[in-house]
């Protein structure tokens, strides 16, 4: 039974994606009988290439993938290099989980309201400092270079990469490495960067690739913060897919294939950059500089991560305020009055979607946990070591749903599901979510599981317990904290899913995220505020349980309570 688990995972993840991609590639070359496309042709590509602004769309998508990833990674590494165990450091590490749980769309709305010319920051200083009675006519949000889009993505990718680094670090034993380097006279931050980073990077390379893929193809954040004339490629594709002129579906499919190419190109470009940095880095390491600019680096790390964290929370706070605001116009720093009307109006409509969201998230997470545990336990029992960090390992397949852009295969997947005669149900949506929940759950849990001291199980078996008994009665209880964290990550991922829910559920499976996005179409910030709060608070419940439950259950077992 256990031996089947890895195969099951591979089939579950790879099958739908390949099927969906096929149904995107066929129309891209003119084949879609339902719309009268019976013969293969290059017409869709000709139309696509004739779209105004296509070069620019592609350019922004490509650049935001690379720049977002480079900056997020640099900030995370600088921060980790400068970690000294101070109170601030601990706080930031603790904020990782809640930051991660804020859905991308909510964070983007928050940022947009914060930095817009008529936004919160501008209101706080106007007209007092600026003399602005009216919002200045300057282009900040949705700028044509995609800078605000990148800022929004960086805010959300920093906690993700930080979590991945924190998970990978313990096996490198960074303290001893740094102590060694310091005994040779290296300053602390420089020491960390020189002796830990080169070993750490291979371990987080796949998450980094996932960030690149996500940033090149994101839809919801790009709709809120991205450029508009033209929008990013992924947004354009969505518009074409939804165009009432049905013949545009062919061009949209060609766009989806192009998106796949752009993401692949960004990944290859990053890979080349890796080579370059590795080559330059070797000189830097070999030169033996002991770190003259140590404190600026440390301060930069702390300052930047602090800024990103603060921005995310300030944006959310702004939305929270808006959700109870009466009339609130520029340049008032605060609303003229507060009202519960927006919440009262939303409450009756909340219960249904909230319950559906919980059902789907819990369903997908439980299945993902079961499959992950089975695969990991199988790995332990067969004694096979995971091929970590190498690109062509089975683990790469796990990343497939994170690396293939959603927009490239989801539309095709809907057609496939339809031809199989599957009707949109909760089960189908859970299956769709599983594609994205499973990789994250696996990634969150794998490291703790593999590092689990084998002597515990050996001891249990030597005392007469069966291997299954040892699993249920020793391993699982000891791993409760990481298990719950993985579950919370899975819940958060599921709750944030928009396109899979909408497409596979045919809109009949309303979750808080689909409701939030369709209400956001109305542009009413008060309504957006209410739903963004709901959307952000649901995953938070998961994280609170993940942190609280082990402390409650193991209050007399200090080392089993999980990380602080």
């Amino acid at each position: 039974m256990l031996r089947l688990a890895p195969w099951l995972i591979v089939i579950l993840l790879v099958g739908p994606i390949l099927a969906g991609l096929t149904m995107a590639v066929l129309p891209a070359f003119g084949y879609l009988p339902a719309l009268g496309g019976h013969a293969f042709s290059l017409e869709p590509w000709r139309l696509l290439l004739a779209q105004p602004g296509l070069t620019r769309s592609v350019g922004v998508s490509f650049a935001s993938g690379l720049i977002t990833t480079a900056i997020s990674l640099a900030v995370v590494l600088l921060f980790l290099a400068g970690v000294s165990g101070s109170r601030l450091d601990r706080w930031i590490r603790r904020l990782v989980a809640p930051l991660l749980s804020i859905p991308h769309a909510a964070a983007a709305f928050g940022l947009a309201f914060l930095i817009a010319p008529s936004g919160l920051l501008s209101r706080l200083v106007s007209p007092g400092l600026t003399g602005w009675e009216r919002p200045p006519d300057v282009l900040i949000v949705q700028d044509p270079w995609g800078l605000s889009l990148m800022a929004g993505l960086i805010i959300k990718e920093i906690p993700f990469l930080l979590l991945m680094c924190l998970a990978a670090l313990p096996q490198l034993d960074p303290e001893r490495r740094v102590a060694m380097a310091r005994s040779l006279g290296y300053r602390p931050t420089t020491a960390w960067l020189k002796v830990v980073t080169p070993s750490l990077y291979p371990l987080i390379r796949l998450p980094v690739f996932a960030v690149i893929a996500y940033a090149t193809s994101v839809v919801d954040v790009a709709l809120i913060l991205g450029p508009t004339l033209p929008p990013t490629l992924a947004v354009s594709i969505l518009v074409w897919f939804n165009d009432p002129d049905l013949s545009r579906r062919f061009m949209a499919s060609a766009g989806a294939v192009l998106q796949l190419g752009v993401t692949a190109a960004a990944l290859i470009a990053w890979w080349c950059l890796e080579r370059l940095v590795a080559r330059l880095g070797r000189h830097w390491l070999a030169r033996g500089g002991r770190g003259s600019g140590d404190s600026p680096l440390r301060l930069a790390g702390k300052g930047l991560i602090g800024l990103a964290t603060f921005t995310a929370f300030a944006g959310i706070a702004g939305l929270a305020l808006y959700s109870i605001a009466g009339f609130w116009r520029f340049p008032d720093a605060l609303p003229q009055g507060l009202t519960a009307a927006h919440w009262l109006r939303a409450l009756p409509a909340l219960a249904g979607p909230a319950a559906t969201t919980a059902l789907i998230a819990i369903g997908a997470t439980l299945i993902a946990l079961a499959l992950t545990l089975a695969a990991l336990e199988n790995e332990q029992r067969t004694g096979r070591q995971p091929a970590q960090g190498r690109l062509l390992s089975a683990l790469t397949l796990l990343y497939l749903p994170l690396i293939v852009p959603q927009i490239a295969f989801l539309f095709g997947l809907v057609v496939v599901m339809e031809s199989l005669g599957t009707r949109p149900t909760h089960a189908l949506v859970i299956f769709g979510h599983l594609l994205f929940v499973l990789p994250y759950v696996f990634l969150s849990l794998a490291e703790s599981y593999r590092r689990f001291d084998p002597r515990w199980s050996q001891l249990a078996v030597s005392l007469g317990a069966s291997r299954n008994g040892a699993f249920w009665r020793v391993r699982l209880p000891l791993l409760l904290a990481p298990l719950l964290t993985a579950a919370a990550v899975g819940l958060a991922v599921s709750i944030g899913q928009y396109l899979p829910t909408l497409l596979l559920g045919a809109g009949r499976v309303p979750t808080v995220t689909t409701e939030a996005v369709s209400l956001a179409a109305g542009g009413n910030r008060r309504v957006i505020g209410v739903w963004a709060m709901v959307q952000a608070s649901l995953p938070l419940v998961g994280f609170v349980i993940a942190v609280g439950l082990p402390r409650l259950l193991w209050r007399n077992r200090r080392d089993m309570r999980g990380a602080p």
Binding site: A34, L35, P117, L229, G337, S419, N524
Partner: protein, 403 residues
């Protein structure tokens, strides 16, 4: 194929051949019987809480009256629903569709009808449809110049309505396209329109085009029959002159009508427009817009159209969908929809031809200063042929995107 035909034959026959009155009534009774206990999935744009609240009320009413379970499937883009029906069609799902009713008009209707994705004709069979008096009101059977031929049932009316902040503009907003340009030059950065291909933004283009061309007859024929470059030249000249004075100097545009309203709410622009004549008043009530908001219509009238509900070809619960469409046309539902405190969407019924008692349902308070006077809505320009919309959108994008 033939089996499926046989199954729908009785219903289709009944719909296609209007028998004499008594029989028609009997047939409608049969539809009502069949509809009982069915669940209708209605895909409708959900960007407005007021619309959603109204649909919630409809849901209660059809449950009480017809034992129909109505589910409002909230979507942010009607195109997505069209997309869905198409995906089902391409997968060979011809009788188990997931959508029973769609709120749509214009391009979406044209696209669905052209691809045979709609069920019908059915509108003439709805008892309440007669209250729209189509012989006197051709707009309820014409969707962007295309005859609906009973494939969709009218639901509400929309008309391009401008609104502004009287605290800034006084009582003298620009009343024509030429005045608008002059006003924008004098007040740079205080006006904009939704970016194409948004529905409302495209309507602004059409409104400008109608005002700027000498002879607007060509616009009511398919675009292929006239010289597009030649006809639209004045429009591009106008837009080229207007754009530098728009919000963000015309380098950026809001995504849609609601975002345009948010710009008004944030004070970023001082003049805006909408398709729902009651929207400004509603936004004032919701604390969004200042109490100094006023609405008006351009001199010579503005574009207006009717929005409809249609049934996809593969809906398995057509009877119930028809009953819902009929309920939406009932004076009770129409009057409530028109009520400014509920939604404020103008009725498609011909109120002047209804009996006095029914007419009384539609009387409204008129003292809301943000609300448009009802007389203003009589100056309605008909929508051009849908092919113009697509051609204008493509031309606009080729001209202004990526520059």
């Amino acid at each position: 194929m033939s089996f499926r035909l046989l199954r729908v034959l009785p219903l289709a026959a009944m719909l296609a051949v209007p028998l004499h009155a008594a029989s028609a009534q009997q047939e409608w009774e049969n539809v009502l019987d069949e509809a009982r206990g069915q669940t209708v999935y209605w895909h409708a744009w959900a960007g407005d809480t007021r619309v959603n609240d109204y649909l919630e009320w409809v849901k209660q009413r059809v449950r009480d009256e017809h034992e129909i379970e109505l589910v409002h499937v909230k979507i942010d883009d009607t195109g997505a629903a069209v997309s869905r029906v198409l995906a089902e069609h391409s997968a060979g799902n011809h009788d188990g569709g997931s959508i029973d009713l769609i709120w749509l008009n214009g391009e979406n209707f044209a696209a669905m009808k052209e691809n045979d994705l709609l069920f019908g004709p059915f509108a003439e069979q709805l008892p309440n449809f007669a209250l729209t008096f189509p012989e006197h009101n051709p707009e309820v059977v014409t969707d962007f110049t295309l005859p609906t031929e009973g494939y969709e049932s009218p639901w509400g009316k929309a008309q391009l309505t401008f609104y502004y902040d009287a605290a800034e503009l006084g009582e003298a907003p620009p009343r024509s396209m030429t005045q608008l340009l002059a006003w924008a030059e004098a007040n740079p950065g205080r006006f904009t329109y939704p970016r194409i291909p948004d529905f409302l933004g495209s309507t602004f283009l059409k409104q400008a085009l109608i005002a700027l061309v000498d002879d607007s007859d060509a616009l009511y024929e398919p675009v292929a029959q006239s010289d597009f470059e030649d006809v639209t030249a004045p429009l591009w000249e106008y837009l080229d002159a207007l754009h530098p004075h728009l919000w963000r100097s015309g380098r950026q545009f809001p995504a849609n009508g609601p975002e345009l309203r948010r710009l008004m709410a944030d004070g970023e622009v001082a003049l805006a427009f909408t398709f729902n004549p009651a929207e400004p008043a509603a936004a004032v009530a919701d604390f969004e817009l200042p109490e100094t908001t006023r609405s008006y219509v351009l001199d010579g009238g503005t574009l207006g159209n009717v929005h409809f509900v249609a049934i996809p070809f593969n809906s398995p619960r057509r009877a119930a969908a028809m009953v819902v469409a009929d309920f939406l046309l009932s004076p009770e539902a129409q009057a409530r929809k028109q009520d400014i405190s509920v939604w404020g969407d103008p009725t498609v019924l011909d109120v002047t031809r209804l009996d006095a008692e029914t007419r009384a349902l539609f009387e409204q308070a008129r003292d809301n200063p943000a609300l448009l006077a009802p007389e203003a809505l009589t100056e309605t320009l008909p929508e051009p042929h849908p092919s113009w919309m697509t051609a204008l959108q493509d031309a606009w994008q080729a001209r202004y995107v990526g520059r």
